[in-house]
């Protein structure tokens, strides 16, 4: 395999990791509440802003030894993730819960509106918010050769985080009590309620996790692409949602597969189809439309149409 092909492969894995994480969030929300939360993109970009802001404050404060530095950087990422998770719970309480028994259209619209509000607040009230922001370089400028391919420290961290997060989600859902509550709710909301499961707590947890996953994707975006702007979240959110639909809404594995499929399609279409880089989104959305026509339940997933 040529070096260029390997580079494209690396790019699509980096992008796919982000899409997958956002898509898992969509899938979890959908499973728990049967709603689509369109503001995942806002969580994603909000987390980038929080992390970048805290990191640059910290890095301006002075120099530290490598171990201390690493620990504090990790702590900042963790803090930014938790803050975003809390925003997720807040959004659930304020703009999703009021519509729990309303037509499905309502939460779709209200979460889109929340996305707009978050994005505009960042633009208007974050210092220099309408300008592109730089994500501070926290990882050493080093790396390793995998054959002929150079992989930098930041990229290794992204890969590691992705694997750890996927495993963590899997273990959480299958092994812990709270995780099994979430699974129970997604299978039958009312039955779960009757069985004495604290539904509200489980839903809060779902939103905390979903928003945190979007936050992790936001950090990866900052680390890998280095520059971000307030309006880059919306598209990432829509791509993540598409990925979860392609994979099969409601399935965590499907979300991961869908995310990587979208990323591969996009990157390779941009790379190998003449003139493709300007319309790369057409290809990824094309995949989505194809799936909805030919296999609306997605790669993994049950047929969602109710039979009369």
């Amino acid at each position: 395999m040529s070096l260029v092909f390997l580079l494209h492969l690396k790019n699509s894995i980096m992008l796919g990791a982000q899409y997958s994480l956002i898509a898992i969030g969509f899938t979890l929300f959908f499973g728990a509440l049967n709603v689509v939360v369109f503001c995942q993109g806002a969580f994603y970009i909000l987390a980038s802003f929080i992390a970048a802001g805290l990191l640059s404050l910290f890095m301006g404060a002075g120099s530290f030894g490598p171990v201390v530095f690493g620990c504090i950087v990790f702590a900042i990422f963790f803090l930014a993730m938790c803050l975003t998770g809390c925003v997720g719970m807040l959004v659930e309480r304020s703009t999703i819960r009021p519509f729990r028994s309303a037509p499905l259209v309502m939460p779709i619209l209200s979460t889109i509106a929340v996305g707009i509000v978050v994005e505009q607040l960042l633009k208007l009230f974050y210092p220099q918010g309408s300008n592109p922001q730089v994500f501070p370089e926290v990882f050493p400028d080093a790396g390793m050769m995998l054959g002929s391919l150079y992989v930098s420290a930041g990229e290794l961290v992204i890969l590691g985080t992705t694997i750890i997060t996927f495993t963590g989600i899997y273990l959480f859902l299958s092994k812990t009590r709270l995780g099994s509550h979430i699974v129970a709710i997604s299978q039958d909301f009312e039955a779960a309620h009757l069985m004495g499961i604290n539904v509200d707590r489980a839903i809060y947890t779902t939103f905390f996790i979903g928003a945190s996953l979007a936050a992790i994707a936001g950090f990866m975006n900052g680390i890998y692409y280095t520059v971000f702007r307030y309006d880059m979240g919306a598209m990432a959110g829509i791509k993540g949602f598409s990925a979860s639909v392609v994979g099969g809404l409601g399935s965590v594995y499907g979300a991961v597969i869908g995310g990587f499929l979208m990323a591969f399609t996009e990157t390779f279409a941009a790379a190998y189809i003449p003139g493709g880089s300007a319309i790369r989104d057409v290809f990824s959305f094309g995949i989505l439309l194809l799936f909805l026509i030919l296999r609306p339940s997605g790669i993994i997933g049950q047929n969602s149409l109710e039979k009369v």
Partner: protein, 383 residues
């Protein structure tokens, strides 16, 4: 049904609203505009508190015929009041064009309960088809307009296809995807003018007279925008009649049934597929007409006018005004076109306020400013 209120209250109410709108449109100063908005809001709150609002709305509802005539006269006079300020007529015309698009969107969002974010794209398709036929082939407006409408309708049908086997949340996603896809394709094709857009789109011609051309009668010059405004008003009237008839027909009933309960509508033998596709097709035809009218009005069309944001704005208009209520849709559209134009200085805060208004409306008044009336059936037949 017995008429139980006199038209007087409705007449006074509409006259006050009309006067307020005229004054608001005539004012140019930012602070006076802001003051007027505050005064207007205060007036409405007082009206609601004193019960005048309810009485007036009741009176309007009970005398629909008379009130429609009154509204028609008011609308026809409006451009004449601004004979020496074509700018106001320009904004008013623009608002009327968008009204046609939102009337179409209302079929999907209001009647059938399907949130469509691609109405901006259909608007664009209508505009581009009409503009390209005009600029490259020299077809007259009266051919390019129906062509634009047809193209938008066909696009609507095509977009409906992926949504047939799926449900609401997929549908919104599909419309978003389609909005982006059509935007990107138009932007990147050479023959659409690409990012440069299409300049020099000609004005329509009726009986040898070019609409939108200045007319000089002795010492009075009638600005070109005035004639175009009346043409748009004629189209808006047609669109209103069409929307009204659709709403009252079996189509409208079927859409409402789907919106309220898909499963039971299927039990009663409704074809979801057909009804949904019809909603998409009819709605996009309206958008196509609006797009064509827009392109020939401004004389220039570019991708900025068919972006996802336009689709979002149109949805906001319908929700603000009142889903499934034609008068409400018109009110919502006029508000969201005219107020931002007056408050241009706060342009940066526009999207933020749209988002906030949308959230607040959904939580506190999901039925919009003017809620739709429940369907009434008269078992004894007409009369």
């Amino acid at each position: 049904m017995k008429k139980n209120t006199s038209p007087a209250a409705g007449f006074i109410f509409s006259s006050i609203i009309y006067a307020a709108v005229v004054i608001f449109m005539a004012v140019d100063d930012l602070y006076i505009s802001l003051g007027l908005i505050v005064a207007f809001a205060a007036g409405i709150i007082t009206a609601v508190k004193t019960g005048f609002w309810q009485r007036a709305l009741g009176s309007i509802n009970d005398n629909t015929g008379k009130m429609t005539v009154l509204a028609g006269i008011f609308t026809l006079i409006l451009p004449l009041l601004f004979l020496n300020n074509p700018y106001v007529i320009h904004i008013f015309t623009l608002a009327c064009i968008y009204c046609i698009a939102t009337l179409g969107l209302n079929i999907q969002v209001g009647s059938a309960g399907m949130v469509n974010f691609a109405q901006g794209a259909f608007f664009g398709v209508g505009a581009y088809v009409s503009a390209l036929l005009d600029v490259h082939f020299g077809f007259p407006f009266w051919i390019t307009l129906p062509a634009g409408m047809a193209a938008a309708g066909i696009m609507g049908l095509l977009m409906g296809l992926p949504t047939l086997k799926t449900r609401e949340y997929h549908l919104s996603l599909v419309t978003i995807a389609c909005a982006y896809i059509s935007f990107l394709l138009v932007m990147n094709f050479k023959w659409t003018g690409g990012p440069d857009g299409i300049p020099d789109i000609s004005k329509p011609v009726i009986f040898g007279m070019e609409i939108g051309q200045k007319i000089t009668l002795g010492s009075i010059t009638i600005p070109g925008v005035m004639t175009y405004c009346y043409m748009v008003l004629a189209f808006l009237a047609l669109a209103l009649i069409a929307a009204r008839r659709l709403q009252n027909s079996w189509y409208g009933l079927a859409w409402n049934a789907i919106r309220d309960d898909e499963i039971s509508s299927r039990c009663y033998g409704l074809s979801l597929t057909r009804s949904k596709l019809e909603a998409f097709a009819f709605g996009s035809i309206f958008a196509g007409a609006a797009g064509a009218l827009y392109a020939h009005f401004i004389g220039f069309m570019s991708t900025e006018n068919m972006s996802f944001q336009i689709g979002l704005l149109l949805v906001c208009m319908v929700i603000l005004g009142g889903m499934d209520n034609l008068a409400g849709v018109l009110v919502g559209t006029l508000l969201l076109i005219i107020i931002p134009e007056k408050l241009r200085a706060f342009e940066d805060y526009r999207m933020l306020s749209y988002g906030l208004v949308l959230i607040l409306m959904l939580i506190f008044r999901p039925e919009g400013i003017l809620p739709s009336k429940p369907r009434m059936f008269n078992l004894t037949g007409r009369g």
